[in-house]
Assembly symmetry: C2
């Protein structure tokens, strides 16, 4: 194994929450109004960082202080959220955004609707610079993983227990337990993230995990945040290169991009991106090269491509060439289109050819 | 363990496919045009069976014969699908509906679009009276399972290997391998299917699998067909009662109903229903009884309830009382609304009370 994490992410999160609380108490003991400096998430403060290859927040912050009566409500909400998160992490329980909204009612903390509690959770992420997953607040959606990696759990009832991620040939769910587990042993040499469950199962049936020594991830469409967080951990804790295989259309391309460079919505945290992951198709040029079955691009597809062309994340290769090729040929193809050449063609031919191609760039 | 399956579903499917092929060959050797009698899936032939508590097909069939030039195309498509399914089952490979559509191109069998190939697959199901999952054609969507049940795999590379379904505390994916596995050992006394991933995780964290000896299933919204198929197997092979917990609105109620009585679309096969499964809420009357946070029903919700009121599946209890209560109070609540009383209230209070209530009906 390449390396262990020194201070666990949960311990770090707990420490930050404690510091936040201490800071508020201290101010009050000094006879001052408590206040917090919250990073500004307005679009004027979101900038694209060429080196990090992701959107990040600029230096602007706004002061939220108990001195201002208009700030009392959001400040109280934010401090309650910090309290509730500490309770979750401390008791090793998880919740969803929805749970948090309803739980507030148990404490008579008022949120107008879930949008308001979600917004406050995002502020807490920005303030602490940690992903809410580290505060044990998880999305509903679950994707899955399969491959030669053994993990060790840190959740109650499973402490120290291990699981080999080839144990279940339908794939292992990526939920709170897996996201927070330690990586203890692996033979894998790469990670391949796949947009669709059907192809994920095909890859397992064709033993891609052995033939390519690949850890396989089924993102099930747009990768949930917990999955993006896990992919980043696989990249940086295990040093594995990450490849992403999606449909050949602007939507598939953007699924890959969000795993690579993140979204503007999550500019306030870095734990969800993998900037050197590679998109391995289906490229617009593959549709021509492999004579794939295709549909014509719709007006909506074309409009989306033109938007992406203006997006700083899409500067550079393969993006600008592929956007150009989509707009020129006006064709899109799905991952499954390779089945025209037999169910195993994508594994036997396309995958090795494409890996050679992207490694030589 | 209560019982083993005598002839496996896959063996049965293979046998039916062979008989279909032999029948066609025999006709041709006799100098006759091959023909098939396909059950009529038109609405005039879909009837509600009060005893089975599901929609079934009536006796009408239509003849599809190679003598009629208009029938040649759909007949060829159908026979190719039977051939391709046999190939899948024989080689223990799986595919999706989408894969099948593209695979046809490898054989120069023409389908106008995926709707046409999907329609033909449904005809094949109706003809053979088997679910397409038994022909190794699976949906994209995956839900998950957790609980004290040990399974034994039948897929290549895993033959005879076992998995304890408490191995992974995020839940185990329900894909082709799990759907077709044998059940070899269980301590469970019931199955609880849950609409949402967040609550599924909560139930695992609160050890519902031990405290209630329950196998937990996360349907992740409308249960995929493979999941409904698995639930039926748990009910009838293991003799376990099945309970379903959804949001308290017409959509959650219908998620439960489709698991119980199936859909009109799948009237041609019986393997996807569990007629004596019980919906354990959130009921309209629970919203009042537990003083849950709620939203007002929208016009669309009310329209949907009025449709359901006319549906024969919704005759009887608890359905008609609950539809009445929804329409009277005009409130809906989500599963998570119980978090108002603390994150564990739904497990500590609601679940035991509700199980007592439905068992006494």
């Amino acid at each position: 194994m390449k390396r262990r994490r020194s201070l666990s992410d949960k311990e770090k999160a707990l420490k930050l929450l404690e510091e936040l609380g201490e800071n508020v108490y201290q101010r009050m003991e000094e006879g001052e109004y408590p206040s917090l400096r919250i990073p500004d998430r307005n679009v004027r403060n979101i900038v694209y960082d060429e080196t990090l290859r992701q959107y990040v927040l600029g230096p602007r912050t706004s002061l939220r202080t108990a001195r201002n009566i208009k700030h009392l409500r959001p400040l109280t909400q934010l401090l309650w959220l910090a309290y509730f998160s500490k309770l979750l992490v401390g008791s090793k329980k998880t919740s969803t955004l929805r749970d948090v909204f309803y739980s507030a009612q148990a404490y008579r903390v008022d949120f107008e609707d879930q949008d308001e509690s979600d917004e406050r959770i995002t502020e807490l992420e920005a303030l602490l610079r940690v992903a809410r997953e580290e505060l044990n607040i998880f999305p509903e959606e679950r994707s899955s993983i399969f491959g030669q990696l053994t993990i060790r759990y840190n959740v109650p009832g499973y402490e120290g227990r291990r699981l080999d991620l080839t144990s279940h040939p339908d794939g292992v769910m990526i939920g709170p337990a897996l996201t927070g587990a330690d990586f203890v042993d692996t033979d894998a040499e790469m990670v391949i993230a796949i947009e669709k469950g059907g192809l994920f199962t095909r890859f397992i049936e064709e033993r891609v995990h052995e033939r390519f020594k690949a850890i396989l991830i089924n993102t099930a469409g747009q990768a949930p945040r917990a999955t993006r967080y896990l992919i980043r951990r696989l990249r940086y804790e295990l040093g594995l290169p990450v490849y992403i295989l999606t449909d050949g259309d602007p939507w598939g391309m953007h699924i890959a991009m969000v795993m690579i460079s993140g979204s503007a919505n999550a500019a306030h945290i870095a734990q969800l991106t993998t900037p050197d992951a590679k998109w391995i198709g289906v490229w617009a040029t593959d549709i021509m090269k492999y004579k794939l079955p295709y549909d014509r691009l719709t007006d909506v597809d074309v409009k989306r491509l033109k938007e992406l062309r203006e997006d700083p994340r899409y500067r550079g290769e393969p993006w600008s060439t592929q956007i150009g090729a989509f707009l020129k040929h006006r064709r899109k193809s799905e991952q499954e289109a390779f089945a025209k050449y037999g169910l195993t063609y994508i594994v036997d031919k396309y995958l090795p050819e494409k890996l050679r191609e992207v490694r030589s760039i």
